[in-house]
Amino acid sequence: MTRLVRRQGWVAGLLVLFVVLFVITKLIQPGYGSGDFGSLVRAVLPYAFAVAAQTIVVIAGGIDLSVGAMMALTSVTAASMMDGASEEYALFVVPFVLAMGLVLGAVNGMLIVVTRVPDIVVTLATLFVLQGAALLVLGAPGGAVAEWLRATIVGTVAIPGLPEISAWIPKALVLLVVCLCIIWIPLRRSKLGLSIYAIGSSELAAFRSGVPVARTKIIAYALSGLFAAMGGLALTMSTGIGAPIPGPYLLASVAAVVLGGVALGGGKGGLLGPIVAVFVLRLVRTDLTLLAIDPNVTAIIEGAIMVAVVMFGAFITMRSRSS
């Protein structure tokens, strides 16, 4: 019981941190409003999916270095398929790209199971493979996106009669919440979800408890690929193009996973923490820009925050363990 409280405590702490940062932002820039919040959510979108992709494999006891490359590949695929195609064609492209992420993720998982090479090495290898594939799809940034897809993350959701509130509900946020929940909530409640936690916690014990270790691992990676494909689509939707060089999503995803209270050893944590951590990290970046801090110092600050928060977390666990 105390454990549960402690874990939720970390997420609650992150939420408080987010609110505090929000207030600080308001103080720095009194005009910071709902439109700016919408920008924040749109910036969060690709990171959030990358983090979701990373979270699920980390919980399963692995790590996925190919997240960024997977996003690049799915993004260029989507952008090049939609280039010059009709608006309706995108109705086919979206499920196609999602399925592609799912399958490629599953391939990652299968390679890990079959070759018995550690996750970190297999996904490092697939990082190169996916990057190469992205370059073959598009040699340089380009492609296009269907207008309606683009519109799904622009603007806010209109709630009749409540204009003030609905101004604070950007469509991008709704999209993010829906996409994550549609997969995460049923998963969390299913035995499959338990199995994912189980293999992350102890593969041997899980195997001995009758968990189909190989199948569970493959599914975890497949879901990771699916989230990464969503991230790739989010990239295409926000930029209108596909870029074959992966953005900084890999390291950011690992950092946010840890900040979000998911242990890198596996078996612990949830999705909410890492997502809130992404919001915190993006808002920090906003504040640094608003404050016009020397750009070379921002790297120092971002690194220091990351280390400080994690040290703080380590410090409280140490305290609570010794007491």
Partner: protein, 512 residues
């Protein structure tokens, strides 16, 4: 033998590189019988259980379940075939709570709860994370989980080894009833008392081969020991110590002086002395503060009050390194806490003296080698799989944890249940070893969950109950019933017999 066997394995072979874990093992279990699987450390008992339950694949052999040939490919498969194991190591998922662990294995919760209560744990919170649950309780939960699905064959690998007497007793009761209700149990234990109290037949393994199947009847122990040990037999005879042999701690200054030691709420005002050349036993039921006592003396946790003196000088330990520097070595009961499993036997034994204590520089390899070799010989460690300790059998791993401190020549050794999961032959070796250490002037604090060991080894017994020292026995009075009573907090000389061990003692059972 008219009935058909429920489970019948023949010609099972398993090799790990150069190590032959099973050469030609067979096992046949009848419906409704409690069948003992016996053998010295490393004989292949655990390996056989793992093969029968699909946790590892055999290189050769046939398994028939209810007369049908069956290829058990995974634990899930075994479960479907009605075979349920409790392995030597706990197999609950550490980061999941008990409830989730049950769900994961499709175990019904209510029967589980009923079994847990039956097994002597009245107040289990199933929302508790497995990692936070003590080892002994975890083993019981593992058993309850298996019982709850009403398996046809229950395979218990040293189920009682890590249990304190009160819990072990309940387990035996429950297992006996399984047999009575027509289900079969394969029971692995190194404790003859349990075997005689419980089992119908025994299959004996030696060096990976089934060397015999015997019916359990009074007097059969000698034969089993003969079969188990083969050529090693003559070394194992050693009678209980006589009172006259007890060392008289005449020294004025004790080696270790503990006064009013407190650790949180678990340990209150514990005081005792440990003399040079003395083996002092500690007896307690599960969770009476003995863990904290040993951890505090080992520098592993900080006491919240009281003093510890070594050779008359007060000491404060902030880290096990401080205790080691004061000559105090700690052998934990759980070998996975003590060993670096992927490293060699040599490195494990040499760790404290070659590397740990500020010696970061070059190692004198020749000297290290000779010290390690002599420790290995002294404890008769089976070194066939010595490149990685994890490949040793459970009992041999246990020996490595002790060998390390023999090699490091520690002055005071805190042994926490060192004979857990060790075969009869080796147990005798360890008793002899502890006595020898004492004769060399070293001091040993010896916690044991097997009460009969006390009279074989100790000079004095300290009984702890509820975090306090409730009695200190001279060895001649420390027979099992007396210790049992004291361990339950009953005053010395109370009449009522406690537990089934008392019953066993009233029936004549030959001891090996």
């Amino acid at each position: 033998m008219t009935t058909n066997p429920l489970l019948d394995a023949t010609g099972v072979v398993k090799t790990y590189g150069a190590v032959v874990a099973l050469r030609n093992a067979s096992l046949s279990v009848l419906p409704g019988e409690v069948h003992a699987l016996m053998g010295a450390n490393g004989a292949g008992k655990s390996t056989l259980v793992k093969i029968l339950t699909g946790a590892i694949r055999a290189d050769a052999g046939h398994i028939r379940i209810r007369g049908e040939a069956r290829d058990v490919r995974s634990p899930a498969d075994a479960r479907r075939a009605g075979l349920l194991p409790v392995y030597q190591e706990p197999s609950l998922i550490p980061d999941l709570d008990v409830a989730s662990n049950l769900r994961l294995t499709d175990t019904p919760v209510e029967p589980f709860r009923a079994w847990v209560r039956e097994l002597g744990i009245p107040d289990l919170d199933i929302r508790e994370t497995a990692r936070d649950i003590p080892l002994a309780v975890l083993r019981v939960l593992d058993l309850a989980r298996a019982l709850a699905v009403e398996p046809d064959v229950l395979l218990l690998d040293e189920m009682t080894a890590a249990l304190p007497a009160n819990l072990a007793e309940k387990v035996l009761e429950v297992v006996r009833r399984q047999g009575d209700s027509g289900r079969s149990v394969i029971f692995i234990s190194h404790r003859f008392v349990e075997i005689s109290a419980l089992c119908d037949r025994a299959t004996v393994l030696r060096d990976g081969e089934t060397v015999g199947v015997v019916d359990i009847e009074p007097g059969v122990e000698e034969r089993i020991v003969e079969m188990m040990l083969g050529a090693r037999i003559e070394k194992t005879r050693m009678a209980a110590r006589m009172a006259s042999q007890a060392a008289s701690p005449g020294d004025s200054r004790p080696r270790l002086g503990v006064a009013n030691l407190r650790v949180g709420t678990k340990l209150n005002d514990v005081s005792f002395d440990l003399a040079n050349g003395e083996v002092a036993g500690v007896v307690a039921l599960e969770g009476q503060g003995q863990d904290e006592l040993f951890a505090a003396l080992a520098g592993s946790i900080r006491p919240s009050g009281g003093t510890i003196e070594v050779d008359g000088k007060p000491v404060k330990f902030a880290h096990p390194a401080d205790a080691i520097r004061a000559g105090i070595a700690y052998v934990p009961g759980d070998r996975t806490e003590a060993l670096t499993m992927q490293r060699s036997v040599r490195e494990n034994i040499a760790l404290p003296f070659s590397a740990a204590l500020r010696n970061w520089g070059p190692i004198n390899m020749a000297q290290e080698r000779s010290r390690v070799v002599s420790a290995i010989e002294r404890l008769q460690i089976d070194t066939r799989a010595q490149r990685e300790v994890q490949r040793l059998s459970g009992g041999n791993q246990q020996k490595v944890t002790i060998a390390r401190w023999i090699a490091a020549e520690a002055q005071t050794i805190l042994c926490f249940d060192p004979t857990r999961g060790i075969d009869v032959g080796t147990k005798q070796e360890i008793y002899k070893l502890l006595r020898e250490l004492a004769d060399q002037g070293k001091s040993v604090l010896f916690y044991t969950s097997e009460l009969e060991e006390v009279q074989r080894v100790c000079d004095r017994v300290i009984v702890i109950f509820g975090g306090r020292v409730v009695d200190v026995f001279p060895v001649e009075l420390a027979d099992e019933p007396a210790l049992m009573r004291a361990a339950y907090g009953l005053p010395r000389g109370a009449k009522e017999d406690v537990g089934i061990l008392a019953d066993i003692h009233s029936t004549p059972v030959a001891k090996p």
